[in-house]
Amino acid sequence: MHSPLRNFLPRNNFSELLTALSDGGYRCLAPKVCDGAIVYKELPSQDTLSTGISIHQAPGSYRVEITDSARNFGWSNGPQGLKPLVFKSRETLWSVRRDTNGQMTFTESAAEPDPVAIIGVRSCDLAALALQDKHFLNNHNRDSHYQTRRASLFLVAVNCTHPSDTCFCASTGDGPTAQDGFDLLLDELDDGFVIRAGTEAGEKILETLPVDPVAPEQAEAISRQNQRARECQTRRLPSRNLEQALFENLEHPRWRTVAQRCLSCANCTSVCPTCFCYSEQDTGTLDFTRSEHVREWDSCFTQGHSYIHGLTIRADTKLRYRQWLTHKLGSWHSQYGRSGCVGCGRCISWCPVGIDITEEVTAIVSAET
């Protein structure tokens, strides 16, 4: 898909990329430290990227350290990937008005195209976006809100050089280097970036940049750091299809022990870049003339998610955790042709009690391996 390593963008010319994106009609979202974590924030024009950010992640823990490194992307990930940009956590799908004669008028809401360039996207999140595309843009039922926002994205990816202790993308095959799904891809070196395009839109931007040729030692340094990023990962998921193994272990005692720890708080599904469950409800005004039909993120860890006509199917945490894991790593294969996990490790770090999906699944399918 993408070209070989040809173009080097010196660090002091990086602002040219931001300018080119801005000239191309995109507003830029860039990683910033906010409230103790990396989040994508709008980068005002003329502003520069943050440097020296280092992230330490462990089960139930996330800490930021600011170092004197000149690098902009020497960290793994923040609490959210691309999901909030395409699948809004709360949005109105349609609204209704009732006039004085009792006549009702329904209006569908539409997402507005909003060209936005995301700087610093990781390969795990590109893989997650591809999975969300499969869900929201499938041929039978396209989600127009998702589609409009998805078409507005310009993705500037960075090959991940500093996976956290919680990362396991190498074992799921989704990182740490990006294969496709980006418009531009960066490899960060101390003095600048090797940059390549993955799409025509990316090519157009790349053509305008003042790049130098890539020196052989730069290509070697990139190769070395990418390999190191792969080899430093200690957590792993069994890479095979676990659908059968999980469904053969529905009564495994581990479900009960993990449920003793699990808060069923849904932090894992909220930060998961592939989870897509939502609920819909109506919120109206007190004068009964207007009402909005709202969709918002839901989770298989809530009671309402399994409530059907007077019956809560999954009333306790054991069943909820089992639903999440058997879907994510099991029936997702039948549904979307692959596992629903991209190895970003967010569910491990952002679980308030530090439950580790790799540890749980290994315990549950261990008799099968």
Binding site: D35, C265, N267, Q303, W350, V353, G354
Partner: protein, 261 residues
Amino acid sequence: MSATKAKVAVHKFSSCDGCQLAFLNMGEDLLALFDQVDIIHFAEAGPLNREASVDISFVEGSLSTPEDIHRIKKIREKSRYVTTIGACATAGGLQALRNVAQQDDWIQSVYATPQYISSLDQVMPIHEQIAVDFELRGCPVNTRQITAVLRSLLNGVTPVNEQDKVCMECKRQHEVCAMVARGLPCMGPVTRAGCGALCPGVGRDCYGCYGSAENANTASLGGRFHLLRLNQNQVRHRFVSFNGADPVFASAGSMGTGKND
């Protein structure tokens, strides 16, 4: 409801009056409210007619005197629907802390003439004495909750029971988890949503003022608080505060610690 306007009363028991402000804070919607209902009794706002029969009674406050029990039973008789509002009415409120203290000692030390004090042994939420049709949690409840329940009752449908955890609202607003990123002992994972994750939204940990969510794992969270270096008493104080008679929080508070993690 019927073609005539629904009659509404707002009653108060042991409480700070703060939940009733959710009505008065409606702003322009107060005009819409008056179009929809007749406010028959609402001492904080003016109208007084506590004996009247009404369609909906909103009840704030907890029961702490023998007279309270007599009065709440009367209210039940005169009301088609009773909706309790706030931590006091639904879970005892702050004053239910005396349920776990030596009450007589307090009365002797606080009041100059303790012989005039006549109080129940235990502070009770309203549902312990009468059948309650719907409970709105929170300390205090907010206008959005009141509006939603009024709309439902006026439409003749069961109000939505918001019982998810605060974490759901927190993550929908893209707040960074205060417990994971900063080690704060946040009550969000066991606390009922409804506030819009107010405290995490201003960088603070949730302190549980909406009471327990459905399926709350207080043992596991209490265990986590210990790992965050809270001692047993501090963990207890996290659970037993605004919702002293919330059975889930009270039980977690009396254990003081979680067995797991």
